[in-house]
Amino acid sequence: MTTFIIRRLLQSIACVILVTIIVFFTMRLLPGDPIRMLVTAQSMTIMTEEQIEFLRHENGLDRPLVEQYFTWMGGILKGDWGRSITSKMPIAGELVHRIPITLYLGLVSLIIGLILGVAVGVISAVRRNSWLDNVITVLANVGVCIPVFLIAVFGVYIFGVRLKWLPIYGFVSPLDDFWASTKSLILPVLCLATFPIAGCARQTRTSMLEVMNQDYVRTAWSKGLSERIVIVRHALKNALAPVMTMTGMQLGGILGGSVIVEKIFVIPGMGLMGLRGVLGQDYPYIQGVVLVVAIAVVLANLLVDISYGWFDPRIRVR
């Protein structure tokens, strides 16, 4: 198992390096002047040729690309992720503040999604074709169709505007005031977790139904084990593998959704930062966010693969 983990870890690191190369060269090779990495389009119009040349030289934009890459990577590893061309603030600093927020929001949503989704999916599978199963299935099917902003709108309207129970914007760190923080996060998490809950429920149900028809589950029944043990120890463990893969893929949806949620609820997370970067064509911003997201995705895939190995020991041999 350990060799498996180490191997996957090395693959992941290689993957991340590959991503940095792709990110770097894509940014540089785009149509347009690389000077756009430093100044906005508007600023460029009021600068003289000499000023542009000066900037270019100052920042090493006239060096060979490969050299630029290593300088850039060096900066990244040292913690210098460049500066935003609109706000002129260092990006690394902002990222350090924003990443934990988005991470907290995303992880809470994902974990709630996984736990609730799997629980609901298991119930649905075990009580197949009962009214409960039918209700759950329909709800799950609907749940994957609801746009994140619609839940937000409903939630804000019902709980914020009409009932006034929950705050509709702002973020309080859980480290400062846990209760207030939780109150402010109920709506955002509700929005983000809906899709994962529904998706996990569907996948778990399908998976469980398949597993419960397997011979080894029949063997488990024949041993006189209780329903709980058969379902949890024998069936679920085998059924969870595809659910985990799907959860890994959910991460993407959550990251995308968090952009929307952060915008609606004014949460100062990474998603909002990325959005501003995209809308303002602030390349260093975009670069920073893309890098972080890529690392997050690779990490998530790594964790999913490792968990796969735990669920299905046959995989470990490869």
Binding site: L30, P147, V153, F154, V156, L275, V290
Partner: protein, 300 residues
């Protein structure tokens, strides 16, 4: 001579009988599930809205009217008006065009490019094929909305770029499907027989592979249509892609957020519209998949 013509005639009628019989069976299975019927009804309504929008409503979705802003639902404005005095229902109907258009273009483009790439990858298995599939895997691992955001950032906003971005995100699924199909079918004897008589590769691919894979491609297309529409709604909500004043459902919700307290319909109507349409396509896609090949359950 007469004997052969009779047998070949019979063969043709048998084949076409089989095709219609198959078609009828598919329709029967589809209609047997209430949710699928529900989905088909919604899609039908959607098509009506798309095609007959100008007929169904006397209003212009772009024309502002400062006297009639933020009105509540009434007989003249069934869903009320928005902050610029435009009839909400009209904008909803015209928005259907945008959603469906983008959804269809994205899915069809992704299907076309994806199946082509997948077929090539399957055919030239060794290095070209494996290279293509690796790239597909990489693209597939990037979350869809983020991919769209990145491409939008790099190429600028605008509808075309958003469509390109979404299509790129959806392409790997088709490539994978086609690739798998080609690899399986390649083993089949009748392919070997064709090659033995000297048929060219393209000929083989078009005449044999494509018809076999068509049902599955259609199922994937139906199931992805919902996802594409959902993604586009999210993007236009964020202000990327379709921007006001064009009536895209996502951006309509965005505009309406400020008026949630007084005119909640501005947000609810387009949002629910997105949900219904996506649900409809998902249900029909599920139904198609079960009708065409229930074994696909769990893989697609």
């Amino acid at each position: 001579m007469p004997a052969t013509s009779v047998t070949s005639e019979k063969a043709v009628t048998n084949v076409s009988k089989r095709r219609t019989g198959e078609f009828r069976r598919i329709v029967r299975v589809l209609l047997s599930r209430k949710l699928v019927v529900f989905g088909l009804v919604i899609i039908f309504l959607l098509l009506v809205a798309v095609i007959f929008a100008p007929v169904l409503t006397p209003y212009d979705p772009y024309k502002t009217s400062l006297r009639e802003t933020l009105q509540q639902p009434s007989w003249s404005h069934l869903l009320g008006t928005d902050n610029l005095g435009r009839d909400l229902l009209t904008r909803l109907l015209y928005g259907a065009r945008i959603s469906l258009l983008i959804g269809l273009v994205v899915v069809v483009a992704a299907a076309a490019v994806g199946t082509l790439l997948g077929a090539i990858a399957g055919y030239y298995e060794r290095w070209l094929g494996s290279l293509i599939m690796r790239v597909m895997d990489a693209v597939m691992s990037i979350p869809m909305i983020l991919l769209a955001l990145i491409i939008a950032a790099l190429l600028g906003g605008g509808m075309a770029n958003v469509m390109i971005a979404l299509a790129v995100a959806l392409t790997p699924a088709y490539a994978r499907l086609m690739h798998g199909q080609v690899l399986t079918v390649k083993q089949n004897d009748y392919i070997l027989a064709e090659r033995a008589i000297g048929s060219r590769s393209i000929h083989i691919m078009l005449r044999h592979l494509l018809p076999n894979c068509l049902p599955q491609i259609l199922v994937v297309m139906a199931m992805m249509l919902g996802g594409a529409i959902l993604a586009e709604a999210g993007l236009s909500f964020l202000g990327i892609g379709i921007t006001p004043p064009t009536p895209a459902w996502g951006s309509m919700v965005n505009e309406g957020m400020q008026y949630l307290e007084t005119n909640p319909l501005m947000c609810f109507a387009p949002g629910i519209a997105v949900m219904l349409v996506v649900f409809a396509f998902n249900m029909v896609g599920d139904g198609l998949r079960d009708a065409l090949d229930p074994r696909l359950r769990g893989t697609i």
